[in-house]
Symmetry: D2
Subunit: 131 residues, 4 copies
C-alpha cells in the first residue's frame, strides 16, 4: 500500500543560509504525507487522538540525496511496509518537480494510550482501514 | 517590572537563505523570554496550564530594525506594561552582543479557561506574583 | 489588488500543546501567500533574490481572533495597500474552512540590495508587474 | 572525542498537541550541540561557510526513547565517531534533567564546495582542530 501527495511548494522559511531546505523539515514532510494518507483512508488523526490514542514516531532514518531549494516543489510517497501490529512502519520517498530523487526515509510509529502513555496494539478501527 | 534573559545563541536552523534569522522566530524569542521570566517569578507556565488556564497571544506587533545573523547572540528584555487584568501586555527589546537594537515588539495575552475556551480574569495566584 | 490562496491544511507540527496552531506560524502563512501571489504575477522571488534584491519584513502586526486547530484548513487573502515605493505594505486575512475569520495582519517590506544591505527603491521590473 | 552542552530549556513552541516536543526538533538539538562543540574547538561554522565550505547532513537516524515535555531541560552529548575524511560522523545522546535517556541519534555530514556544490575532503584547518 502506498500514497503519493500532490506537489508541495517549498516554503521560504524552510530554507537555511546554505540555500537548502533545512534537513529537519523532511521529518515534517514525511508526517504531512502520512497524515494526508490517513485522511484519504477516512482516518482523521485528530479523531484518533480524541479517542485517546497517540501515534508518536519512535524511530526515524533519513538519507539526503539532493537538496531541495526555494522554488522547488516536491511530492512525498509514503509506503506501509507491513501489516500494522504494535507499530506502524513507513518508507518515504521525496521527488522534486523533475522526478529527481531528493530523499528517502523510514519511520516507525508506536500506538500509545494518551492516558497511561503506555504502548497499546493497533486499534481495530485503524486495522480495518488498512486492510 | 522587567526582565532580561541571558545571552541566547542564534540557532543555525533559524536562519533563512537571506542569511538573516527568519522574522517569525522573533515571536518565539519573545515567548521564551516571557516564560523564563514567569519561571523566575516562581510561576511555572506548565503548572498554569495544568490548572486549566491558557495564556494565548491575541495581538502582536514587531519592528525589525537590524537583522540577526548566525554567529550572533542576543538578549531579550521583556517589560510588563501595566497591572494584569483580563489581559497581560508586554513590550520586548532584543539587543545583540554589541548592544545594538535588533528588534522591538509588543504582545497582548489573554487568559482562557482551557475547558470552555472562554476568557477569564487574571487568576489570583498570578496577580500575587506580579505584585 | 488582492490574492487568495487555495485551502491550506494545518500541519501537525504547527500545533502546540494548547492544541492551537502556534502564533508564530501565522507570519509564515502570510509569507507563503505573499510569495504565491508574486509567483502568480510571474514574479519568481527566487529570481528577485538572484538579481541581488532582498525583500525583508521590517514591520509586522497580527490579531489572533480565533485559533486554528489541527484538522482545519484555511485560506490567506493578501492585499496590496498602496502603490509600491521604497516599501511594500500588505494586509492579510486568514479564514478557516467555515469562512470564520481567524486572523488579520499587516506587514511592511523593504527592498534591500543584497550586496550593500542598504535600502533601495522598488525595482522597475517589479513595479511593472504590480501595475 | 566528545562534548556535552549545558542544560537547554525546552521552548514552548517546540511542543505539539501530544504535549511532547515534536520529533523534528531533535535534529535541531543535534545540530546546535554539534555547532557549539565546533565553536568550543575555536571553529566558527559561520567562518567555515565564509571560506566556501558547506557541511550538510547527508544521513540521519534517531531513536525516540522517552518524550521531552515543556518544563524539561536537557543536555546533548555529541561524539565524533572516527577521524574526519570526506565525511564526519557523529553520535548523539540526549539526557533530561533527571539523567534519563531521551533520545539517541547519528548523523553523517559531508563537506561541499559552496561554489560547485560538489563533495570535497575535510579541509586541513578543520582536521587540525579535531586532532
Amino acid at each position: 500500500m502506498e500514497y503519493t501527495t500532490k506537489q508541495i511548494i517549498v516554503r521560504y522559511h524552510e530554507t537555511d543560509q546554505m540555500h537548502f531546505v533545512h534537513h529537519s523539515n523532511y521529518l515534517k514532510y514525511f508526517e504531512l504525507a502520512r497524515l494526508e494518507w490517513l485522511s484519504n483512508l477516512q482516518i482523521s488523526y485528530a479523531e484518533v487522538e480524541s479517542r485517546g490514542i497517540f501515534m508518536p514516531v519512535v524511530n526515524a532514518s533519513l538519507k539526503y540525496i539532493k537538496p531541495l531549494v526555494f522554488g522547488d516543489n516536491f511530492s512525498v510517497t509514503v509506503i506501509l511496509k507491513k501489516e500494522p501490529t504494535a507499530t506502524l512502519e513507513f518508507d518515504y520517498k521525496i521527488l522534486n518537480q523533475n522526478k529527481q530523487l531528493i530523499s528517502t526515509g523510514n519511520t516507525l510509529l508506536a500506538f500509545l494510550s494518551s492516558d497511561t502513555k503506555l504502548p497499546i496494539r493497533c486499534p481495530k478501527f485503524l486495522l480495518e482501514k488498512f486492510n
